[in-house]
């Protein structure tokens, strides 16, 4: 039969890869045709909901973990437990990265195509200029180095915080959460928001102190993730907290940059925020069998490895890791190290109203950095508004 695969992957820097992938799949499965539907990342979430409401939803869906709970509430996703339990799968479920598999409402809803651990990218040239010879590993060093870099000259800052309200306004989950997790904190208590806990406040306080010290690039409230990355590439910030996958953009676009990649500075805690491209099947699909055939194909170690390499990411099927490791450069090796050694955290999956919640975080963090609210007040405000949103 014919199935549709809705994703944004083909719009990222992977010229022609997915077209070829689909062609290969069709060659192996002559009875299945796959239509590749590519949407810009910023619109995928809307598209899935809209298509579903009209009844023209695609069969295989590219997913982002934070959307999970919301989609479940609308009933968009098909539980995958039965499929995963099959004998003839091309992969071993135990090899898959764990975070996306975590059960919600007792079931599994998605499988990982690939994974990106959040890391800290470092401009070594600036670090050295500021008088240090190694990247920071804990908060104290981080704060000191960021401050020293900011003092270097006009237009150079220690670190950027992309807290713009501009859609998808998800800056806090890109920078704040990795820091929080590295500090051993969490924002959820099971499936309920728990934002006003001491670890959160402590992390907020850390951000505020950095800001007061002038270490954070000005204009956080209008800074988008894209700009944050661009400024780092342009050599204007010392540190960038973002998915490790950015390393390839950085090295390819500014090869002259004296660049390295480290764990997000922590206070001894080895936890990292994990992010990736996930796959799910639409509950309304009338061709779930074929849909699973495609998913199964994508998760097989060989294909999965190719997909990971194409995206400069780590494979969702860890059995493919060895293939990936072979051609890996040192930044990728570092990421593999994190993947193998540290605890992945992904809390938004079971979070109610995730997208709304990060708008709320954005707004309150803006207010805190502006000095309108203390970290405690900001944390309490997020908690209150999130709870209200969740009912």
């Amino acid at each position: 039969g014919e199935i549709e695969w809705l994703q944004w992957f083909a719009a990222e820097d992977t010229t022609g890869f997915y077209d070829k992938l689909v062609a290969d799949f069709e060659a192996q499965h002559p009875d299945i045709t796959v239509k590749l539907v590519t949407q810009p990342f910023g619109k995928v979430r809307e598209s899935i909901v809209t298509d579903n409401a009209i009844g023209v939803g695609s069969d295989v869906l590219g997913l982002n973990m934070p959307w999970t709970k919301e989609f479940l509430d609308i009933g968009i996703l098909e539980p995958l437990d039965d499929y995963l339990a099959r004998e003839d799968n091309s992969f071993d479920t135990a090899d898959l990265i764990e975070a996306p598999l975590g059960k919600i409402d007792g079931k599994t809803w998605m499988v990982p195509l690939n994974a990106f651990p959040f890391v800290m990218h470092v401009n070594m040239e600036l670090v050295r200029k500021a008088g240090f010879d190694a990247p920071p590993s804990n908060w104290e060093e981080f704060a000191a180095q960021a401050k020293a870099i900011s003092a270097l000259q006009d237009g150079i800052s220690g670190v950027g915080m992309p807290f713009s309200s501009q859609p998808p306004s998800n800056g806090p989950i890109l920078t704040f959460l990795p820091l929080l997790y590295a500090n051993g904190g969490r924002i959820m208590d099971g499936t309920t928001p728990n934002f006003d806990n001491p670890k959160v406040v402590e992390t907020l306080q850390f951000l505020k102190d950095m800001n007061d010290a002038g270490s954070i690039a000005p204009g956080a409230a209008s800074r988008t993730g894209g700009v944050d990355l661009e400024e780092f590439i342009a050599g204007r910030t010392g540190f960038l907290i973002s998915p490790g996958v950015h390393s390839s953009s950085i090295t390819s676009r500014n090869p002259d940059l004296d660049y390295t990649l480290v764990r997000v500075p922590s206070n001894g805690e080895k936890a990292y925020r994990v992010h990736g491209w996930e796959l799910g099947i639409s509950a309304d699909s009338d061709n779930k069998e074929d849909a699973w055939t495609l998913v199964n194909y994508l998760l097989s170690p060989e294909v999965n490895a190719k997909a990971a390499v194409a995206a400069n990411a780590l494979p969702g099927n860890l059995a493919a890791l060895d293939v990936v490791r072979k051609g890996a450069d040192k930044t990728l090796i570092k990421q593999i190290e994190i993947l193998e050694g540290d605890t992945p955290v992904e809390e938004m999956r079971q979070s109610p109203k995730a997208a709304g919640s990060w708008s709320v975080m954005t707004e309150e963090l803006q207010a805190m950095l502006r000095g309108d609210k203390s970290p405690e007040e900001a944390a309490a405000a997020v908690q209150a508004r999130w709870l209200e949103l969740a009912q």
């Binding site: 909901v49 713009s164 209008s222 954005t362 707004e363 803006q366």
Partner: protein, 288 residues
């Protein structure tokens, strides 16, 4: 004229297309506003005007409403002032080729898609962007301002973008209108001793009042529900400093998946726009 059926035949294609495509959606939106949790729930419950009471007791609705008024009035004024001013300048007695050149250049802001316009202005208004750089160089500000990130300036920045984007429509309309003002009126005014401003106030404006009135009202209705430019430029932020009713609608619908609440806001916009439209129709009736 005698043919009775003719007018119906003429309006039919237009009405059929509009009716077929839009009457159901319009009806649906009103219906959504009377139910709870449409789209998300497969079996929504009827709540009557419950959504409206919720909405009207929500301060974020009222603050978005206030922002909408500021944004709409500011934008329309901006469009009018810049559009009319430029129409006058570009209508001046200068070389015809130069005139075509300037007219075409000045219409440029209209022909780029909102995504690009928004991104480009973000670049320009960035603390390290060109505008801050130029202002600093001129000595007007001592350190870069975060135009789109500071609640004190964000609305102004947004108005700047909206004005820039929207004036060409007014300019083109007004320019067409200008051609219809009899030259003799200006000559009579000149003999009466009127200078440029007098001529503008006493001849041009009164003469083009119907045009201005109509165009302003259309612009008002459109700006009132302008969405992409605002959403892409500021996303309603920082905080909710530039949240307008249309972005609130979108946020409710596609960020929070509260489609019923979104429909409720939409219906409230419908009612306010209807007031403008009635005004417009009345004005038009008076002109005929």
């Amino acid at each position: 004229m005698t043919t009775r059926g003719a007018p119906y035949l003429f309006v039919l294609p237009g009405l059929v297309i509009l009716g077929a495509l839009l009457s159901v959606p319009l009806y649906k939106v009103v219906e959504y506003s009377l139910y709870d949790n449409v789209i998300v729930e497969h079996d929504p419950t009827y709540v009557g005007f419950g959504n409206y009471t919720t909405l009207f007791s929500d301060p974020s609705y009222w603050s978005a409403g206030f922002n909408t008024v500021v944004f709409t009035v500011g934008s329309v004024l901006g469009h009018m002032i810049v559009g009319i001013g430029l129409a006058l300048l570009v209508n001046a007695d200068i070389n015809a080729r130069a005139r075509t050149f300037f007219r075409s250049m000045l219409v440029l802001p209209w022909i780029f898609t909102a995504v690009v316009v928004a991104l480009n202005w973000q670049l320009l208004l960035n603390p390290f962007g060109l505008i801050n750089y130029v202002l600093q160089w001129l000595g007007l500000i001592s350190e870069p301002l975060d135009w789109l990130g500071n609640p004190d300036y964000a609305m102004w920045a947004l108005l700047l973008i909206s004005t820039w984007r929207g004036y060409p429509f007014i300019m083109v309309s007004f320019l067409s209108g200008l051609q219809t003002v009899p030259k003799e009126l200006y000559e009579a005014a000149e003999i009466d001793g009127a200078g440029f401003w007098h001529k503008f106030w006493h001849v041009t404006l009164p003469q083009l009042k119907p045009v201005i009135y109509g165009v302003a009202l259309l612009d008002l209705i459109w700006t009132f529900q302008l969405f992409p430019l605002v959403w892409l430029s500021t996303g309603g932020g920082p905080g909710r400093a530039t949240e307008v009713l249309s972005t609130l609608t979108f946020r409710l619908a596609f960020v929070d998946f509260q489609f019923s609440q979104a429909a409720t806001v939409a219906v409230s916009i419908l009612i306010i726009s209807a007031a403008f439209t009635l005004l417009y129709l009345r004005n038009e009736a008076r002109r005929v």
